[in-house]
């Protein structure tokens, strides 16, 4: 029976535990993507005109916009809603991978089995990472399919490019939540700092370039590793993506290292 098979290991049980969240995230992204693409296909030009009248700062916060209905739809999906959904998922599950069992007080029973702490963390991180990849891939497929359905002219490759560029930043913030949670044994710390930094870096990255002298400061935020690539127009920026992935890997390594060396709570 599938239910029993999913209890064969930490990895498969975690798949079972987190499947619902993954399905909800995919459906949310599909619905939002369909909604934006549909609206922009029907009355995109009116929105473009409206956006042109927006103050520069407000338009900047809204996201990238190349002055077309397609650009507006992609901005909404990949620079606002997509990051929101994916970051919520990655930060939540990253933290849960590190200390979910500890805070739920199921860790003593789980660790009475011959398991290493890091094995549990690795298994859960793998599930969360696969979940992020699945949501991203299915969102891309959904966007491409809906765009084709309504006749919107999108470059499949560039949409894929922005999806992959987004992954780097999502992994970075997920790993930050994981690393901090594992270090201190506290999901509140991991989630709070990662979510706070994500929001802060979003506003810094989108608002500071409005002021010419501060434009370069915006390039120092994690968000810039995604938005600075302008992947919708230019495809993947390998250097920015590589930096994001390296930081994510370092934070994950820090999480493993500290989890192995601290007293467990409870």
């Amino acid at each position: 029976m599938l239910r029993d098979k999913l209890l064969g290991s930490v990895f498969s049980k975690t798949v079972r535990d987190w499947l619902l969240w993954t399905v909800i995230a995919v459906i949310a992204m599909w619905l939002i993507s369909a909604l934006y693409i549909g609206i922009m296909a029907l009355s995109g030009d009116a929105y473009v005109t409206m956006m042109d009248d927006f103050p520069e700062a407000l338009a900047s916060v809204y996201g990238m916009n190349n002055g077309t209905p397609e650009g507006l739809a992609m901005s909404a999906i990949y620079f606002l809603i997509g990051p929101l959904v994916l970051l919520t998922y990655a930060i939540g599950l990253g933290s849960s991978a590190a200390v979910g069992e500890e805070e739920a007080r199921s860790l003593p029973i789980l660790l009475s089995s011959p398991l290493r702490r890091r094995s549990i963390l690795l298994a859960k991180t793998a599930v969360a990472s696969i979940g992020v990849l699945v949501i991203t891939a299915l969102t891309w497929l959904g966007v491409v399919a809906v765009a084709a359905l309504v006749g919107m002219d999108l470059s499949d490759q560039n949409v894929l490019g922005v999806s992959i560029q987004l992954l780097g930043m999502v992994f970075l913030f997920g790993a930050l939540a994981l690393g901090l949670s594992a270090w201190r044994g506290s999901s509140a710390l991991g989630v709070g700092v990662a979510a706070g930094l994500a929001v802060l870096s979003y506003f810094v990255t989108t608002l500071l370039p409005v002021v010419e002298d501060l434009a370069d400061v915006a390039k120092l935020t994690p968000w810039y590793l995604f938005s600075g690539a302008d992947s919708l127009s230019n495809g993947i920026d390998v250097i920015l993506l590589g930096i994001a992935v390296l930081i994510a890997a370092a934070l994950f390594g820090l999480g493993v290292f500290t989890l192995d060396r601290r007293d467990l709570k409870g």
Partner: protein, 305 residues
Amino acid sequence: MTTTDGAAPIKTEGLTKHYKDVKALVDLDLEVQQGEVFGFLGPNGAGKTTTIRSLLHFIFPTAGKATVLGMDVATDAVEVRGRVAYMPSEYSLYPKLTGAENITYLANLRGGVDKSFVSSLAERLEVDLTRKVSDLSTGNKQKVGLIQAFMSKSELVILDEPSTGLDPLMQQELQTMIREVRDDGRTVFLSSHSLAEVERVADRVGILRSGHLVVVERVDALKRKAIRRIDLEFDDPVETAAFETIDGVRSVEARGNTVVVSFEGSVNGLLRAALDHNVVNVNSREADLEQIFLDYYHGNGSHAA
């Protein structure tokens, strides 16, 4: 069942754990022998759970070392846990899973668990494993925890407050299960607040007070050494002075025609002094572990640190 190279199931040397300024465990030297039930007693915060968590490498000792089944817990933690069964005092099962699913998951992770043995344990403990854990009472959750501890037939079973939430009948069944482990040549390390439970099943006890191990003794020997109480009833009130100077007498109290004497050691001198008067009745109370425990807890035990 044999331990690694005949090593003690549990051995600690100078095991110490400090949390900032709190000395949770101080210089613990302890050796548990194979095939015994070792009772580990102490009031809340005495360091019992800290000891167990150190043995399983959930926490890192400030000083000292511990071996379990001959393996260093610091370097061989996973191997240790593979050969030890453990029931924590405070834990949660997975509430969305049924009891059976919880057991299946943990059995799969451990491997080598006989499903029919799990069923027989569930039958003995009278727990319905088909129900979700979130729907189970505290006692029934405890039973699921007990099943996971006993199902693997491990060489060493560590139980931390295992009878919490169990009714008297189930406590009795648990004691039978503990004795069966011992009869099988395996070892049980039983940390408990239930002094009566420890008294019934343990071969030896260790008593912790404020992180210090104050005594390790066989239960029967401990009782022999303990302060007992005898009520001597006379036909008239008698002076207590005659009893106060007798060897082993700790306290004497007159209550009407009755003299209540607390003493340790032989009762001969006391009885000889009593026979100088007309004795109507003698009521001797056997020392139970609770009184012994309290004596050590308050620092009155003859071996108390």
